[in-house]
């Protein structure tokens, strides 16, 4: 495993101002290495999604620093953050979050279009291979509403992988799946992480599943991250 972390958090705090204020993260340290699948477990409301949002530049920390590929990315927001997400990140959300108006294939290649150009032949070939490898080859022309929950989540994983990201973030990706589909998704996730040598963080409440497939398992509780 490469020693240089692809993603690193140093003493990250997140405080939501409100009545009363909620201190969700209280000095979180995390280093994510290439080829590593890290599971973060915790009860609902423990701050897993908040942590993933900060890792993925969707939200900023109240305090602390975020490094991406060794560079300080704290405070990057707006279009600069969007550009960085497009180049380096892949996201898998709890309920797939595919765009309902588009087929699975179109959903898959949307991230390539977001670069502001037409997909190249090698990118399309990679997208087709992903569809095939994830068992979606026959479903390419279906709309998300015509696919099962497991198929939708695999399509979401394919979408996250199509840009060959260096970092993959998955927030409760098996939250709405049955046991079989959950195992399939986690095994595909681990396989992809190892093959593509990317760093991945998966937030899940399913400790057993995380223990079975993740290289490292961390627990988020009381705003602190600890090895388990």
């Amino acid at each position: 495993m490469n020693k240089a972390p692809v993603l690193e958090l140093q003493q990250v705090h997140k405080l939501y101002q409100g009545r009363p204020p909620v201190h969700v993260l209280k000095g979180v340290d995390l280093a994510l290495f290439p080829g590593e699948l890290v599971g973060i477990v915790g009860v609902s409301g423990s701050g897993k999604s908040t942590l993933l949002n900060i890792l993925g530049l969707l939200d900023g920390p109240t305090q602390g620093r975020l490094y991406i590929q060794g560079r300080d990315a704290t405070g990057i927001a707006g279009d600069a953050a969007a550009a960085m997400r497009r180049r380096l990140f892949g996201f898998v959300f709890q309920d797939a979050c595919l765009l309902p108006e588009f087929t699975l294939w179109e959903n898959l290649i949307i991230p390539i279009h977001l670069a502001g150009r037409s997909p190249r032949a090698d990118e399309l070939a990679w997208a087709r291979q992903l569809l095939h490898d994830l068992g979606l080859g026959e479903l390419a022309d279906r709309k998300p509403s015509e696919a099962s929950g497991g198929e939708r989540q695999r399509a979401a994983l394919a979408r996250a992988l199509v840009g060959r990201p260096r970092i993959l973030l998955a927030d409760e990706p098996t939250g709405s799946l049955d046991e079989g589909s959950s195992h399939l998704l986690f095994s595909l996730l681990r396989e992809s992480v190892e093959e593509e040598k990317m760093g991945a963080v998966v937030a899940t409440h399913d400790v057993e599943l995380a223990r079975q497939y993740c290289h490292r398992l961390l627990s988020l509780s009381g705003g602190k991250l600890a090895g388990s």
Partner: protein, 380 residues
């Protein structure tokens, strides 16, 4: 095809009913504008055509009620100007007209070198006589005159003469049909007390009658005479027509405003319905500008569909209305609905629709660009 346009087209196609309602609003506005502009343009054009038919485009005068003497050289000089189609001397003045032995009526007498040529398009009845008067149809009817019958013209206390009625004319303009008579120049000079070397002025006809105002200054500089354009002469009629056109345009603009609000509402709702998608796309790396363009394009596409439908609807209805009989007694001059379709009006209607739909799209785009990623993605 740009990605944002592709997405916009898909969003529109995915909600056909809503899209048709939005585009339909634009279509109605475009159709209303095309119809209003077509009919008012047609009426305006018809009116101008009628006014110009008998009017000189420019009149060159020595002054108010001053005869113009020695006009032959001026005729030659003015006739050489490249924009002048023809020029002729005329006399004009008030006379009394009647049947022998009956009560005469006041009328304007105009004398031209060959009145039959000028009146030809408006003659309803004419005789083969080479001498005599042409008289407006309404005036003739009031006086009981018809072609071939004898009319008396009284130009002054001791200046009355009988003429055969050569023809009747109808222009559609009350002032002409009920109050004008035409004679040859020589006869009219005699009746109005002009010498053979004097006229009231020169009547100039131009290649471009609508440019009369511009050429008036040139001819004034050339001749040193007072120049009056047909627009000056009919200022009140033209101003009334323009006010009517503007009033209708305000109604049309209100229609566009309603259409714009309709499109804007639908797009704004669309932004709110698509908040989660907007968040997902932002998470995948979409810049705010790209997302804004998706909604702007939706406005433009709905506008474009509306324009096409509106043009088909508007032009189709104009085609059906064109030439239909008018049953409005006040509109005596036009028995059929005149319609004039100008390319620039169609471009104006299309442009207005695009502006309105584009404006609605911009408002929606602004709203889409303002969505905060965590709020729409995480807290939805």
């Amino acid at each position: 095809m740009p990605f944002s346009l592709w997405m916009a087209a898909r969003y529109i196609r995915h909600r056909p009913r809503v899209s048709i309602v939005a585009a339909g609003g634009v279509a109605v506005a475009v159709a209303v504008m095309v119809i209003v502009m077509g009919i008012t343009g047609g009426l305006h054009d018809y009116l101008i055509g009628r006014l110009l038919g008998l009017e000189a485009h420019l009149e060159l005068l020595a002054g108010v009620d001053l005869p113009l003497a020695g006009f032959e050289e001026l005729l030659l000089a003015v006739g050489k100007e490249p924009y002048v189609q023809s020029v002729e001397p005329y006399v004009q003045g008030q006379v009394l007209v009647g049947r022998p032995g009956s009560l005469p009526r006041g009328a304007y007498l105009r004398g031209l070198e060959d009145p039959q040529v000028r009146l030809a398009p408006y003659l309803t009845v004419s005789s083969q006589d080479e001498e005599g008067i042409f008289i407006g149809e309404d005036l003739a009817m009031a006086l009981g005159l018809e072609p071939g019958s004898e009319a008396v013209i009284i130009g002054g206390l001791e200046n009355s003469r009988s003429f055969a009625v050569r023809g009747l004319f109808r222009t559609g303009l009350e002032g002409y049909d009920g109050g004008m008579v035409y004679l040859t120049l020589g006869a009219a000079q005699e009746m109005l007390g002009y010498s053979p070397y004097e006229v009231a002025g020169l009547a100039v006809y131009l290649d471009d009658p609508l440019g009369a105002g511009q050429h008036a200054a040139s001819l004034q500089a050339l001749t040193g005479l007072w120049v009056r354009s047909w627009q000056d002469k009919h200022k009140d009629v033209l101003a009334t027509a323009q006010v009517q056109q503007r009033a209708l345009l305000i109604i049309v603009l209100a229609t566009f405003a309603v259409a714009g609000i309709g499109v804007g509402n639908i797009l704004w709702l669309n932004v709110w319905e698509k908040r989660r998608d907007i968040g997902v796309l932002q998470a995948l790396g979409a810049k705010r500008g790209l997302l804004a363009r998706v909604f702007f394009w939706q406005g433009i596409l709905l506008g474009a569909v509306g324009i096409v439908l509106g043009l088909v609807l508007g032009l189709g209805l104009l085609w059906l209305l064109k030439g239909r009989p008018i049953h409005v007694p006040e509109l005596t001059f036009a028995q059929q609905l005149p319609v004039l379709i100008k390319g620039k009006d169609l471009v104006l209607a299309g442009g207005a629709a695009l502006m309105v739909a584009g404006g609605a799209g911009l408002a929606a785009a602004r709203e889409a660009g303002r969505q905060k990623i965590v709020e729409v993605l995480v807290h939805e």
